[in-house]
């Protein structure tokens, strides 16, 4: 071990000890001080009630299956529509001008309106026109609302991905005699999509959480189920249970997205 390595090892040990000590101090402070707060007993009873958690957790988990289901069919639809919108907005041919206008209006509108409003308007509004069952199901129209909103965001990310592909790639492909369409399909899009995978991962995580907004128009997913328990038991612990279930899914996904993002930053450098 050289002199420098010894020094660096010592520095590492030192920072490790400092980090461990400060973490333990903070945790201990939370653990010991929070219960001293005058309202703690009531807060614990209302938010962190072990008995209530055990009683409600299985039903919450079951309700979460609805979230997973809605997520599973929304995500591919969003990817496809998002990509089409992105392509429509970049269409160059004058015949496709209406498509460009449509793409621009689409992204402006659905990014500008809160998701919950879109869910309400489409979820109650379109079935209100008099569609027969099962075509007026809140699952169908609620999903459509999510798909429209998220496609608008996803389309913009795809566009930024398309812009991120260097123009020399286009020139090289055109010089070989490929058509504009072939250049887009074979050269630009594969690179663009790869470039935006981390950003799209973050959209997926956001979508996973926003699926809960469908509860406003009827489906009893985890958020609504927790709300039902909250009302019946006059206790907020079921919400904490729902939060735990969300975290179990979203924390690994978030870490993975961050990992992809970091790797891409390294590659770009």
């Amino acid at each position: 071990m050289t002199r420098r390595e010894r020094y660096e090892a010592q520095q590492r040990r030192r920072s490790l000890v400092i980090a461990a000590t400060s973490t333990i101090t903070v945790l201990a402070a939370i653990y010991f001080l929070v219960p001293l707060a005058p309202g703690w007993a009531k807060v614990q009873q209302s938010f962190f009630n072990g008995e209530t958690l055990i009683k409600t957790f299985p039903k919450l988990l079951e309700a979460f299956r609805i979230n997973v289901m809605i997520f599973a069919w929304s995500a591919p639809a969003i990817a496809i529509l998002g990509l089409l919108i992105a392509l429509a907005r970049d269409a160059k041919s004058p015949a496709l001008f209406p498509l460009r206008i449509f793409g621009a209006a689409f992204t402006d509108i659905f990014r500008g309106v809160p998701v919950i409003l879109t869910v309400y308007l489409i979820g109650f509004g379109i079935p209100g026109l008099g569609l027969p069952r099962p075509w007026n199901s809140p699952y169908i129209w609620g999903t459509l609302a999510l798909v429209l909103t998220y496609s608008a965001y996803v389309a913009e990310i795809f566009r930024s991905g398309i812009d991120s592909v260097h123009h020399s790639q286009r020139a090289a492909a055109l010089s070989l005699g490929l058509s504009e369409r072939q250049v887009m399909r074979d050269v630009v899009l594969p690179q663009a999509i790869r470039n935006v995978v981390p950003s799209q991962m973050n959209m997926l995580i956001a979508l996973q959480k926003d699926v809960s907004l469908l509860s406003f128009i009827g489906p009893v997913e985890i958020f609504r189920q927790a709300g039902v328990f909250k009302s019946l038991l006059a206790n907020f612990t079921p919400y904490v249970g729902a939060a735990i279930i969300f975290l179990i899914v979203t924390v690994p996904a978030t870490r993975y997205a961050d990992h992809l993002m970091a790797r891409q930053m390294r590659e770009r450098r």
Binding site: K42, G128, P138, R224, S231, L232, A234
Partner: protein, 271 residues
């Protein structure tokens, strides 16, 4: 906001003469001395409160509130109204009202977190059906086949799953307005409400809908009884219970119920 309202109201009242009996049960036990602060929903609905204006004393809950206040020795001017959501009411911590009246059903679980007064109304549950389902017979068998909806925060939810046990999972909503919207969109056939609310919705909100039956209050294992909600351990509870007992004995409570909820009879029982 409600605190400021209460403050503003109390400062106004310092100028007028407070006709409050010092020796009464409630003395020193209310949020603001000499005032009785009552919370209601935002908005408050017919027939519980008329025109969202509880100060008028019009509507069943508004009328009960003023009767209880009078019984406890408060002048009508000493009653202060505030608004609150369901969640605010059951949150731990200090409350910004003495009592909260918005058709809270008394349940043992809720009773652990907050206190309830003695019941001021026993509400039968009733079935409201959409215009497409008005032909449904008022039998459990026929009701099972309908697509159900309810407000997720009410005791209608456990009632649905324990008594009706519908074939399809019910759809649940945040408030009455959303249940209306779902029924108008033909996404649900039927919804469970307390009877007065069901009657109001069918008469005013959803054209062509109909209340086809009610569950007898005494027949279900735990009838829905509305109580005034207050902070756990509120010393005012005994005073309010006393006042309600007096109103029941004198027949005043029944009189108020007959005046504001008279339509509640005449809906067939579900077999």
């Amino acid at each position: 906001m409600s605190k400021m309202l209460a403050l503003a109201a109390s400062s106004v009242l310092l100028l007028s003469t407070a006709a409050f009996a010092e020796g009464s049960c409630a003395a020193g036990k209310t949020l603001t001395d000499g005032k009785f602060t009552i919370a209601t929903g935002n908005p408050a609905y017919y027939p519980w409160v008329l025109d969202d204006a509880p100060e008028s004393g019009e509507g069943f809950e508004a009328a009960v509130a003023y009767a209880v206040a009078e019984e406890m020795g408060f002048a009508a001017d000493d009653v202060v109204w505030v608004r609150s959501s369901f969640d605010e009411a059951i949150q731990p911590g200090a409350k910004e009202f003495d009592v909260n009246m918005q058709q809270y059903s008394i349940t043992p679980e809720r009773d652990q977190v907050v206190d309830f007064s003695a019941p001021y109304y026993t509400a039968p549950m009733a079935v409201l059906v959409s215009p497409n389902a008005t032909g449904t017979a008022p039998t459990l068998e026929a009701l099972k086949g309908l697509q159900w909806g309810a407000v997720g925060s009410t005791t209608a939810v456990p009632k649905l799953s324990s008594i009706i046990q519908p074939d399809n999972d019910p759809l649940l909503y945040g408030d009455n307005a959303d249940v209306n919207a779902a029924m108008s969109a033909n996404q649900i056939d039927a919804a469970l409400f307390d009877l007065p609310t069901a009657l109001f919705l069918s008469a005013v909100m959803i054209e062509g809908s109909k209340v086809i039956g009610q569950f007898p209050a005494d027949e279900s294992d735990n009838p829905d009884q509305f109580g005034m909600l207050m902070e756990e351990g509120n010393p005012l509870k005994s005073c309010i219970d006393e006042a309600l007992a007096a109103l029941t004995d004198s027949g005043k409570l029944a009189e108020i119920e007959a005046k504001w909820l008279q339509d509640s009879t005449g809906v067939p029982l579900i077999k």
